[in-house]
């Protein structure tokens, strides 16, 4: 089987690899690059557990062919923190107990980051609709929505006070 050559950027690092042309970005992230933070909950784009950013746009890694990543910048959950300094969203998820089992958490954080990058002051309704593609079965979403709103407030505060 002819392998496809992919040249891409993952979490700001250049990546070159060979993959099956039918392999998804999720397959490659997890199995080739060891970036296991993106989870497969459904394989059909219905749960959002594999949410990643592609050129800053939120996508499900299970619905992108790895081959399509060539020339694009991919950000996964592993690229959200600054080294060991957690992103405000990550810290807020911890402080607000916005996770129980934690399987959906990476996807939610990546999705929430994409939201706050576009809209630093979302309403609760905007948060809920933006995150509708991320399923959580443990929390009932309450604490997740609060964590995103609280993180947004902190990030606005940080932006003002630098």
């Amino acid at each position: 089987m002819a392998k496809h050559h992919v040249t891409t950027t993952v979490n700001r690092e250049p990546v070159e690899l060979l993959c099956d042309p039918s392999a998804t970005l999720l397959d490659v992230l997890r199995d080739e690059l060891g970036l296991i933070g993106s989870k497969e909950g459904c394989g059909s784009g219905d749960c959002g557990a594999c949410s990643v950013l592609m050129d800053g746009r939120l996508v499900c890694a299970c619905l992108v062919l790895a081959a399509e990543a060539t020339g694009h910048e991919i950000t996964t959950i592993e690229g959200i923190a600054d080294g060991n300094k957690l992103h405000t969203l990550q810290q807020q998820f911890l402080e607000d107990a916005a996770l129980q089992c934690g399987i959906c958490t990476p996807g939610f954080i990546v999705a929430a980051k994409a939201l706050l990058d576009r809209n630093p002051d979302p309403t609760e309704t905007e948060v809920r609709f933006w995150l509708a593609g991320n399923l959580c079965r443990c929390t009932g979403y309450d604490k997740i929505v609060r964590a995103v709103m609280n993180a947004a407030a902190k990030m606005r505060e940080e932006a003002v006070h630098g």
Binding site: D20, T24, S44, V64, E68, G133
Partner: protein
């Protein structure tokens, strides 16, 4: 096992050549939100996947004298970020925006939503109602056709080997016109439409409807353009009697199925309700335009 190959042509001609020379079963990839699910489920195993996103024309939104030309591989999120388009055609924008989650929005395309051939495709009734046409390119040249003529049955289109849609031609919105799209789903997001209605209408100064197109989705093997619905509206002031006639015409046009998403009775009734509600929204927009 058959090998899958991936190609990303950079021009329409290259893409046509690629598809024409491909073994049987080659598939076009635009947003991939349907194709990748089918791949994963083992429903399809195409020998070649032709990614159209390398073709500039398919990725552009152009404002022209006649309206807009939208590349078939423009993603929903990109279209809704186009302020001029979304203010002129809020119904189409909303319809496109209703396809799946934020994640899906970043990928799903107008061309893919149409060519997947689902009777429940959200963007299709809105495009039909707006009188949108599309350009089909292929080995024997290009042709233009109305959106309602593309899909023939669930999963089936008029496109032949080597053909794909390159662009959608969206007319400039006529004065005092407005469009709207509504669908019914059990949840607030993430479901496939159980019934849907797209409406585009024009009102004169007296508030009389002078033109209308009403399209229904998910209530027949393909999206319907229902002339009887338009007839119910044209010449009326969209009064209760006209609305009742519209809803009845919409329900009468339905030929749905019972499935895991809804019943025949439900789809038939709700199609009428949605048509009525969509007309109300479209009329409000028309009055504002």
């Amino acid at each position: 096992m058959n090998a899958v190959e991936y190609a990303k042509p950079q021009s329409i001609d290259d893409a046509i050549r690629c598809l024409t020379n491909a073994p049987v079963g080659a598939r076009v990839l635009a947003g991939g939100t349907d194709l990748l699910v089918q791949l994963r489920a083992g429903v399809v195993r195409p020998p070649l996947i032709v990614d159209l996103k390398g073709i500039a024309e398919l990725r552009r939104i152009e404002s022209t004298a006649d309206g807009f030309r939208i590349g078939a591989a423009v993603a929903g999120a990109e279209l809704s970020e186009h302020a001029e388009f979304s203010s002129q055609w809020p119904g189409i924008t909303e319809a496109f925006n209703l396809i799946g989650s934020t994640q899906i929005q970043g990928r799903a395309t107008l061309g893919g939503n149409l060519c997947n051939g689902s009777p429940a495709a959200d963007s299709v009734p809105a495009l039909i109602a707006a009188g949108v046409r599309c350009i089909v390119v292929g080995p024997s040249g290009s042709r233009e056709m109305a959106v309602e003529d593309v899909v023939t049955a669930p999963g089936k289109t008029v496109l032949t080997t080597g053909e794909f849609i390159s662009q959608f031609l969206i007319p400039a919105r006529a004065a005092h016109s407005g469009d709207a799209y509504l669908r019914f789903i059990p949840r607030t997001e993430m479901d496939i439409a159980v019934a849907s209605a797209g409406v585009c209408l024009t009102l004169n100064a007296a508030g009389v409807c002078t033109a209308a197109r009403v399209s229904l989705g998910a209530v027949a093997p393909r999206a319907l353009l229902v002339a009887a619905c338009a007839d119910a509206l044209i010449g009326s002031t969209l009064d209760d009697a006209a609305m009742a006639k519209l809803a009845a015409a919409a329900s009468a046009a339905c030929a749905p199925i019972n499935d895991k998403r809804g019943t025949i009775e439900f789809r038939t009734k709700v199609a009428g309700v949605l048509a009525r509600r969509a007309v109300t929204i479209a009329a409000q927009r028309a009055r504002g335009n």
